[in-house]
Structure formats: C-alpha cells, structure tokens
Amino acid sequence: MDIFDSLPLLILLSSLLPGLAIFLVREESHVLRTSLNLFGALTKLGLVGLMIWGVFHEWVSDMRWQIAPGLELVLHADALSVVFVTLSTVLWLVTTIYAIGYLEHSPHRSRFFGFFSLCVTATVGLALAGNLFTFVIFYELLTLATYPLVAHKGTPEAVRGARIYLTYTLGGGVLLLIGVVWLHTIAGPIDFQERGVLSDLTHLDPWTLRWIFLFMIIGLGVKAALFPLHGWLPQAMVAPAPVSALLHAVAVVKAGAFGIIRVVYDVFGVEYADALGLLPFLGAIAAFTIVYGSVKALSQDHLKRRLAYSTISQVSYIALGTAILGPLATIGGIVHLVHQGVMKITLFFAAGNYAETLGIHHVSEMDGVGRRMPATTLAFSIAALGMIGIPPIAGFISKWYLGLGALQAGAGLWVIPVLVASSLLNAAYFLPILYRAWFKPAVVKWPAEKPRSGRWEISGALMWPPVITAVLALLFGLFAGAPFSPLEWATLIATREY
C-alpha cells in the first residue's frame, strides 16, 4: 500500500506547492491564481478522501525523517488527525471560493492567497504531526503564516490587531516549546500514541510532569483562547471576513484545541492525566471560559466581536470534553471540534456578506436584513440555533454527548449547569439577532449598500459558501448516526483512546 504510506506528505504538498506558486503569480492573473487555488484544494480533498478510507482500515503508516539524532520529523495519520485534516480541507475549499469572491478587485491578492495556502498547510501539518517536535514546528509556522493575513488590510487598526495577535501567540509558542523541550530532555522523543505514552514511563517525577503540562496547556491555551489568554481573539477580528472565518473555525483557535486533545490523550493519556489531577484543573478553566465568553458576548454590538467572544466560549467545549474522563465526553469534545467549525464558519461568512453587501457591521443595524438577504440570513440562523444547541443541528449532538459524558464521569453537578447556562446565554445573544433580522421591519437605507447585480442577493461565490456550511451543520446533526459522520469518527477515536 505505497500510496497510502505517502499520503500525509502528498496532502501537505497539495497546498504548499500551489501556495508557493501563487506568490509568483502576477496580481492581474486572476484566472491562473484561481485555478491554482482550486486545483490545490480539490486535489487535497481527493487525497483526504483516500486517507479516510486508509485510516478506517488502518492501512496508513508513519513517514519519518531524521533531522538530528533523536530528533525526527514524523507525519502520521490516525483517526484523530483524519478528523482535523478533513475539517480543514473541506472548509479550506469553501473558504477559498468565498475569499475569491470576497477579495475581488482588492489589492495584494497574490500575497493573500499565498499566505492563505501556507496557513492551511501548517494546519494540516499539525494535524498530521506524529510527535511533539513536528507539532511545534507547524504550530509556529501557523503563527507566522497567519500574521500577514490578519494584517492584510494594512490599516493602523489591522496592524495593531495583528501585532497583538503575534505577541500573544509567539509568547504562547515559547511556553509550549519550553514544555516540549523539557519533556524531551527527561523522557526522550515522544511520538503521539493512542492512550498516551507517559503512563508507561514510571520513573518520571509526577510534579515535573504537572509543570510540563501547565506549560504546554498555557502555550496551547493562547491559541485555543482559554481565559485569561483570550485577549487577542476579539482584536483579531479586524482581519478580512474569510480570514476570520478560517481563524475561528479551523486554523488558529482549533490548532490550540487540537493540541490540547493531543497532549491529553496521546502524550499523557487521559487516564494518567486524570491520575495526576490535571483534568479537573483543565476542566475548571474550560468551564469558566465557556461562561465568561458568553457573558462578554452579550454586551457586544459589533457583530464580529460578538461572534469572537462566542468562539472563546464554544471552543472551550472541546477543552471541557477533553477534561472529563470517559469515552462519551471524549466523543462530545472531538465531535464539537468539527461541529463548532462548520457552524462558526457559517456565522463569519454571513457576517462578511452583511458587511460586504450592505455595510452592516453592528447587530443594531441588522433590522429586517432577512428579507434583503434571505439565503445568508437563513444560513446564519441555522448556525446560530446550532450554537444554542437546538436539535437537529450539529451543536445539539455535541451538547448531548458532553452532558452524558459528565454524568458518566460523575461530574454532572458542575458540568450540566455550565452547559445549561451557556445554552441560555447563547440564546440571549443569538436570538435577538435573529429577531431583528427576521421580524423587525427593514430600515429605509442600509449603511453602505452595493447595487444589486445578478439573480441572487449577492454574488454566488459569497452566497453559496455559508449556505453549504449551514447545510453541513444541519446534516451533521440530522444524520449523526450515519456511517462516516463526524459523530461516528469521534466514536471510533474514543474507542481507540480507552
């Protein structure tokens, strides 16, 4: 099975090479750049399809390159990486289409799409990383590739937001690196392995391991926007809409959350982490962040800021699922990695559409927008209801498994109130938006309306992406029991982790 063995590398190259090529493309060559973009995205999709099949049958093995003695770059595909790779690949394709529509006629498109591809390469790379060293490399690459995207507009505000982003994430990266190096010196090279590796190394001092865990979680927590390390996220919403969408749904925030999952499950091993008393600590931070993010979101009038705080809250569901011992909670956390991704990307696409077409940036300007832009608003509504956890949208499945997991682990008394509070708060900041959009009469004049052209409310490249991701969010929930659904994969992972 040669093709299966080289799949991880091919998948990386499928976005790296087009990305590098795009830097060389002249600004005006719209067609060439678009073809490169789509070629890369579609190729990757095909390869990922193959990989899913391979991993399902356990055909895929490692790829290793020795850099120095004891230091190896490892690419490896297991069930968990497949989840994240698939999510990034599918959403990358959709976001690319969206970005092409969004950035039409704006300057520096080659630079944008070049870094855009690099960013996805880094994301996929850290999904496929087979050990901590490889993970850290791609983690830092992601930080660097995203910076130009956040600063893309070049306004003082954008530069400032990007600078804050860089400060936070580089700082986090350093802490993560310290943790990884420390672990490397005392335990040697650590490959990710299902059920963890550290539990077998009994000679290690538990307190050292606890400190290492702390460093790693802080390092990862910056990207995952755990309280109090979340400050950069609301600032980074100055980025163009497709970047925000990718940032919140797949790339940066998810990289942090994914890292936490990796560290807890495949480095420490969830049972060992629990034995060390690390899980309640993580759980408490996650629970607090969930409520804190939602409370902050309540008072934001700026739509993208509200969504940013909502991300802070929702991504912590993943950390929460990780922090509760037991397969059901694991399923809940991992499945939310995917579910939050498709729902949040929908919300940001829609926010971008409102800003682009009507000049709407604030919730208070959204009165009656549902009649002007029905498809976008419908997509937004589905995603928002999903965030609250209304069945049959994907968010319900996450919430259901998290709740069951909490009861299974005997943690129901503090987790369920958090889930309930979060649902109510989500309702409190999303439902008023829906009310304005659908039920309030429209204002006479939108802040900055662009003339309508074509048959849809907005150009197809901008309209279809949110519709598609909203449909995905609906299907993931509705057909959660179907084979190859995110829930089924999460279940597969959970059975392999325990």
């Binding site: 549902g370 029905p374 209801l385 956890g389 209304i390 069945p391 049959p392 499945i397 919430k399 259901w400 709740g403 069951l404 009861l407 299974q408 129901g412 369920i416 309930v420 649902s423 109510l424 309702a427 439902l431 659908w438 039920f439 009469p441 929930g477 509705l478 057909f479 959660a480 029991g481 179907a482 829930l487």
Partner: protein, 541 residues
Amino acid sequence: MFADYLLIATPLLPLLLALLIPMLRSAHIMILAPVTALLAALLIPVNSSIYLPWLLTGVYWKLDSISQLFLFFSALIWLVTSLYVIYAHDDQVKRSIYRCLFMLAMAGNMLLIVAADMTSFYLGFAMMGLSAYGIILRPSQRARRAARIYLGFTLVGELALFIAMLILFSSSDSILFTDLQQQAIPDLAVAFLLLGFGIKLALPGLHPWLPLTYTAAPLISVAVLSGPMMKAGLLGWIRFLPSGAENLQTWGGVLIWLGVAGLLLGSILALMQYRASAILAYSSIAKMGLVSSLFGYSLAHPEQAELVIAALVLFAMHHLLVKSALFIGLDDYQQRRGQSRIFFGLVVLSLSLIGLPFSGGSAAKSALDLATDGDLGLLLMLSGFATALMMMHFLTTLRTQTMTGNHIPGHSVSRMNVNLAWWLLLPIAWFGPFMPGSILFEAKSLLLIAIAIALFFYIRQGWSRASTLALVFQPGDIYHLFKNVRLTNPVLVKRDHSSSALFTWPQPRPGKSSSSPSLTIPGLLWFAVLTLLIISLLVPS
C-alpha cells in the same frame, strides 16, 4: 410498506412544506400536511413502527393507540387552522414567515406525537415550541413582550427536558420510551420533567406566559397553541413517566395538589377577566390543572394507571377539540363583529366543554369518574362547576364586549368557505372523541350545571353592585404582580333591565354596547337545561 412511508411522511411533509412555502406564490399546498397526518392516523395499523438508525442518534417512530388519538385530533385542528391561515386577512398571518413557522410548529407537533424515543420527542418538542414564537409575534408592544416571555419560558422548559433526558439516558442507557418502563426513574429527572412539561401545561407558577400569549397572539395561533401544542405537554408526561415505578407515587401526590391549585387559580382568575380571550386562557389553566391532577392520580395509583391514562387522553382530546374550536370561533366572531350564528356555535362549544348531557365533555368526565373509582369525584364536580361559571362569564362577556376586530372589508367568499370548515368541526367537537351513539346520558351532572348557571347570574347581580371592588387581574397575573395590580372597573357591566323579549334570538349590537344582553341567553340556557331535566325524568334510568 405504504404504512411506513405514511409514518415517515407525517412529520417530514410539513417540514418540507415549511421550506417550500416562502418560495411558492400560493399557500394552498399547506393543507397537504395535516391531510397526510389524518390519513396516517386512520390508515396506519396500530403499533406500526419504523427505525431510522442514521437519523440523529437513531430514531424510532411508532403509532400506538395513544399517538393515534393525538395524531388524529391534532391533525384535524391543524387542518382547520391551516385553512384559516391560507385565507387569512390578518396582515401578520399572511406573511410567509408566519406560514413557514406555522408549518414548522406543525412538523414538530407531528414528530413528537409519533416519537417512540426521547431524542425524536425532544426534537419535535423544541421545534414546535420555538417555531411558535414566530406565530405569536405581532408588531404591537404587547405581543412582542408576550412573545419574549413565551420564548423565555419555552427555553427553560426545553433545557429542563434536556437535563431530564440526560439523567434518564444515563440511568437506563437507552433512548427508547419502552425501556423507561423497566426501572425506577431518578427523582431529579422527575422534577425536571414536571418543570419542563409543566410549563407547557401551565402549572400554577409556571403559567404567566399563557394568558399573556393567548391575549396578544393572533387567535388562529392561539387555536393551535391551546389545542395540539398544549396537549403535547401531557403526552410528554405519559411518555416519560410511565406509571409503576415506586418513587413516582409520592410525586403523583404532589402533582395532584399542584393540579388542584391550578384548577382553583385558573377558575378564580378567569372570572376576574374582562376580555373573552383572557377568560378562555385562564379556563385552559384550570382545565390543565385538572389534567395534571388526574395524571398525578395515575402515578399515585399504578394499578389503575392504564384506565386513568386512557380516560385522561380522551378527556384531553375533547378539550383539545373544543378549546381550539372556541378560539377559531372567537376569531370569526370578532372578524364579523359578533355575528349571531357564530355566537350560537360558541354557545354549543361552551356547553360541550361544560359537559352537558350527550356531549363529549360529559362522556369524558364519566369515563374519568369510572376510571378513578370515584376517588376524584369531588374534584371533577368542582371542575364542572367552575367550567360552567367560566363559560357563562365568557359568553356574557362576549355579548357585552365591543367588537374591536378588524372587520373584513366587503364580502369575502373565501372567508365564508373557511368558516364552513369550522361549522363542520362543531359536531366533532361536540361529541369528540366519542362516537355519538356511545355517549350515555348523565343526569346527575345536570343539576350541578343548573346550580352553577343560577349562581352565576345571582353573583353577577351582586357583583355589579359591588363592581368597584372587583379586583381585575391583568392576563399574566403574577407577572404583573410586582408592577401593577390594577384596580379597574367592572368585570361585569351593570345590567340593563329594560329589554325584554325572552325568546328572541340575540341580535348583533352595532357599535359599543354599554348594556349587557337581555335575559335571552340565560333564558335559553335555562330552557335547555329544564327541558333536559324533564327528559331525564321521563327516561327510565
């Protein structure tokens, strides 16, 4: 095979139509959904089931004898109200978003009726409850506030149900209702179930959303809210709390008293209302109090549970039909500035609700009496008595009330045809859910009703003298308690004795009528009651 498809189509068709309706010019296609559901209720053999493992976490739908009854009568009401929605003149109801959410609510209702697992039920319950927000809403301040409060209560109810489901699933490891019957239900889950469905059934304390909503929403929406949607709460209890578990007996006792409190609260407050829709709203609270009591009784007496539940479902179906029909009729009545024919229809419905002999109401009541071995005879009697008072109050209020409804300009043929649907519904509501031939004659309730009606008019006299002392609660009572308990004028207007003509048919009064109707209505009622009394004496029992 055909039955399977029909069962799947029952909840899915309205869902599909909900998505289609905004795109279509004509809304006629809406009636396809309730018609399908009616066919499903009639044609699918009892206890047919389907299992769809791919949907959600695996869903299981089944049509047992209880869901068959719920499905048939709910679908009937949805059918009639759909017709009214299609030919609506109300600007709010004509909007496509109203129709869309109306269909979504219908889909949720159908789904929870056929659901045989917790997840499907929850999905249907949530879909129905949340979509209803959109059919309550109107541009007015009052309606917006009502809709907001409704939504708040509904969300809390849904989360309570969610928590209860988590606990139930953790303890039984199954989402099927049939698996719940095998073991004890954790107390915490019971508490959350009582809360979750108690909000839908407006248990005392959880009820303020109901009068606010019923008096602010379009009456056609209220017709479905008070009928099919409200009864979903009872269905929820029946499904989630199968009687037989030990610990449920204590809970049953609690529920009996909660229900009694609801009955008293609803009845007393109903008599203090001066708006027809508010009276009906509080009378719903009273009736649901009775329903809760009876359900509590079934929990407390597991050995009788099966019979009590069966009788209770029949009783609930009767209330579903009559209450919905009353609200639809009220809508028509207001639209037509008090047409006498419609008033006659409303009188008929009220009498059936009161439980006049040969009506479904009386048959349901005797079925309940029989099933409970007469243990709750007093409560049933009290309820019948209170209902008689409330409905008298409703009818007289209706006659004295100024018609503020937006009158339909010109003659509307379509509206006339729709009204025909209501007339066709009347006989069903009168007898339903019983077959006309199967209703036995009950003489003993008649006396009670007669006393109630007499008392009503007696109090009415006295009350009007002391009218300034009459405390009038705004619909929503405790919601306003902290803000404004209003001391306003008369629940009941001072009667004008000048008119006579005992046996003339009540004429519609143009404009504002400060005087109440003449003695015509009470006279006619007395006449009817006396006639029946005489018949009852002649017929050997």
